[in-house]
Symmetry: C2
Subunit: 502 residues, 2 copies
């Protein structure tokens, strides 16, 4: 029990006395055996790291070169999955220790899927992070970058759980991959951050679920006016992209759900879903599919409103013609833009404020810095268009960059400034594999055309729904979660959705 003694700073005298006597398990350590001198550690009420800005120094000749990955989204995780850990040590910095399987996130809000089924721990994506002494995951935010010194500054996430100031530390990189993703756009509309819920993280889905069930139950209480019932049970989704549409679909599925119909029979006629979009829903999809989607959603009771939101208040949104739409739940999914950190990075920018990269996803004019996913875009000089902020793009870029870095490593260019001579060959080319979206009620869209005007298969209906489910089931990363997603779907089918509010 040395650890415990050292922990509570037992005096030399006491130490001799506290030899554990397992033989007699009832011999609890008597208090008298502990010294009660306050231990040094307690002299400072909230401990600081002994050395500010300690961290991981530059890698030495004997060690593997170090790839530092910022972010745990589709891009970063696919990259880490593909990196050859015989060549590189992997260090990941992110405020999230798991990847969210975003295409299935909407399903978790209404209990079709469990939250945990759509979250994949990093260590399961790249086991080296758990095993290799030189590989780490840090639950931290990147707060600064010094490309000349090959250095990133980080700050721990303390979650408010501890009376600790966040600790700063630095990490030297041989290669840096910026995969910080993007943040939801609010178009500077008042009150969005405050009153609307986004749908990008698991905790968003949890918040939506809690609110949905709270409102259901509040509206069931005696003395609630008709208007208030309608408001509480009015779910408004702003943004008609795949996320907005899929969430509306899931919601419209949830409402006629036997659990809800039964448990809230008193209020079921007040529950409604409105989808507000400034232009067309699913604008990236084939016209016939869009047409089909619109019909399906309308049929399942989703009200499609073309409008522009001007202002968001606690219980109503105001459209730009002054119409007031009361809501009980407001979900915001109007696309994404660069995060403040990305804006602040001392790097070349692409149109739209993204981190600028060349055909090989390198950030020009600095050494050993790459950027992938929603936070990056081609610099104008490449003449290439900015790619859409899709999981598909991020995943493809992560895969490409992993291979590129592995090649560079094999060619002996893994160290900082070691790839200057490296001959970059085939650049990154994005080939769109098509889009999918579910509409609820066992209906979905599958658009396999490579561009909006291109030719190719465009399916709608149950078949697509089946393809949608199978496709995602096979793309879920670990067998554990694949198993759980299947189980969740099965039990939802057999027992109905789970409406426990925990």
């Amino acid at each position: 029990m040395a650890w415990f003694r050292s922990l509570i700073q037992v005096s030399a005298a006491a130490r001799s006395a506290t030899k554990p006597r397992i033989s007699d398990p009832f011999s609890y350590t008597l208090l008298s055996r502990f010294s009660s001198e306050p231990a040094p550690i307690h002299e400072t009420p909230d401990p600081q790291p002994p050395t500010q800005y300690s961290g991981l120094g530059p890698t030495k000749p004997g060690e593997k070169p170090r790839v530092v990955v910022l972010g745990t989204g589709w891009a970063g995780c696919r990259l880490m999955k593909g990196l050859d850990t015989d060549i590189y040590d992997v260090v990941c910095v992110s405020p999230r220790n798991h990847m969210v399987f975003t295409p299935l996130l909407a399903s978790t809000c209404v209990g079709t899927l469990e939250f945990r089924s759509v979250a994949e721990p990093i260590g399961r994506i790249q086991p080296a992070i758990s095993r290799e002494p030189g590989s780490y995951f840090f639950l931290s935010n990147c707060v600064g970058l010094d490309p000349d010194k090959h250095l990133v500054q980080c700050e721990t996430v303390t979650d408010g759980a501890e009376p600790l100031k966040p600790w700063k530390f630095e990490i030297s990189y041989d290669k840096l991959v910026i995969a910080l993703g993007a943040k939801p756009t609010t178009f500077g509309i008042q009150g969005v951050e405050e009153h609307a819920i986004f749908l990008r993280e698991v905790y968003h889905a949890q918040e939506i679920r809690r609110k949905l069930l709270l409102n259901l139950m509040l509206s069931d209480v005696p003395g609630v006016s008709e208007e208030e019932k309608s408001r509480l049970l009015h779910c408004v989704v702003v943004g008609g992209g795949p996320t907005g549409v899929e969430f509306s679909g899931e919601l419209s599925d949830f409402i006629p759900e036997r659990d809800v119909r039964q448990r809230y029979s008193h209020v079921k006629n007040y529950i409604h879903v409105t989808l507000i979009e400034a232009n067309e829903i699913l604008s990236s999809f084939d016209d016939r599919l869009r047409h089909y989607a619109t019909k399906q959603l309308t049929k399942s009771g989703v009200r499609l409103v073309r409008g522009i939101v001007k202002d968001v208040k606690a219980q109503k949104i105001i459209l730009n013609d002054g119409t007031e739409v009361p809501y009980g739940l407001l979900v915001w999914s109007t696309g994404v833009g660069p995060s403040p950190l990305v804006n602040s990075l001392p790097l070349s920018k692409a149109p739209g404020g993204r981190v600028g990269v060349d055909e090989w996803l390198r950030v020009p004019s600095v050494q050993d810095v790459y950027s992938i996913g929603d936070c990056s875009g081609f610099v104008e000089s490449t003449g290439k268009p900015t790619l859409p902020a899709l999981a598909q793009v991020a995943e493809r870029q992560g895969k490409y960059l992993a291979n590129l870095l592995n090649k560079i490593g094999k060619a002996g260019g893994g160290r900082a400034n070691g790839a200057k001579e490296y001959k970059y060959e085939d650049p990154f080319v994005y080939k769109h594999l098509g889009s999918m979206a579910t509409l609820g009620r066992y209906k979905a869209l599958v658009d396999l055309r490579q561009s909006k005007d291109g030719k190719g298969l465009a399916l709608a209906g149950f078949t697509s729904w089946f393809i949608w489910r199978s496709a995602y089931l096979t793309r879920v990363l670990s067998w554990r979660n694949r198993f759980y997603v299947a189980i969740n779907w099965a039990t939802t089918f057999v027992f109905g959705r789970d409406i426990t509010r925990i």
Copy 2:
């Protein structure tokens, strides 16, 4: 789409224009079609219930008599399950819309079980609450009681999620069952409420899990001192009852867990569990079992300390001899006492401040009020001892009272003041079926003796662990959760525990 029109208060002119044209699904309603008069509902910024103190009035001759149940713990849920809904309408008031299967709660903290697997929605326990027009569940707190008027006052739980003041309403009862449970005792020790986590609700388990994983990750960050690592990874459990012991067991299971050993190989030697108990652990168990438990826990690295906590600070507890024990996670399970509401109720009291009941679980000197579970105890005049605060007791009382109320109902005594003439026969007698506790590592205790000194089977080891699991698996209420618990156990066995921090 009438609901939508009424919702946004469309003017007569506009109404004619907004006839939905499903035939042309692309015809979104143009904004101009909506009137922009502010709707009356919005004139008051945060709506109040139109009639304060509206609610459910006394039941009329045509209707079923109404049983109002306060609480959704073991007692209340078992009662509701047993009530004959052909005789009674059931109205349940609780801040929680589900029952927590407390014996398995400790397992959820470390990812052996999912949170949802141990939570059972009320509507699945008593389907009438979902179906019968006269039966309700209200997500509310009971705030007052008027036994003479047969009336309870309630207040909605708003969860801080809405800028709404909680709504007050009243419910008239024919029969009232007080099953409000108890609250954890802190013995007035400073800082417990603030810094320690209890283990009674699902959100407690979630908080413990988040904190455990946060500390694991924080301790892995460069620049953290040895002392700080030891502190962050020192889990202290206060209270050596079954809950405390089971949680310590689960924790000591979690630590050598391959996931943890691997992912946190850098810090695994700092992780430790200390169980602090003023007297003996598992005092209600057979000596040999206690002996066995002590040996097992010590073997799996749990430090047993006999001590009394004097003060709780943010990062250390101080024992009453002045010893300071730094901690990263502090779990408090030193038994329970009556809640402030129970204390405030205008009813006769039993020793220990519980609601006093007679042999038939009736509250004396008032009509039609019963009390069961941790919140109730026999009045002294009965000469019966206060029963321990166990799920077993609560469940037995719930079952007994359900039968009693059903009999009274059948005999036509269901209405308020209707049971005055009823002949109360066989009183409630508690027969202890024995105790179980798991120690982790596939070890458990099963004590089938009926009293501390009685004769009977007392088992320890794997067999008991197997009995423990089977017993609880069969006692889990719904097939859905039974299924999920089994699946969770299987996957934990195959894939290891899940350490995603969501």
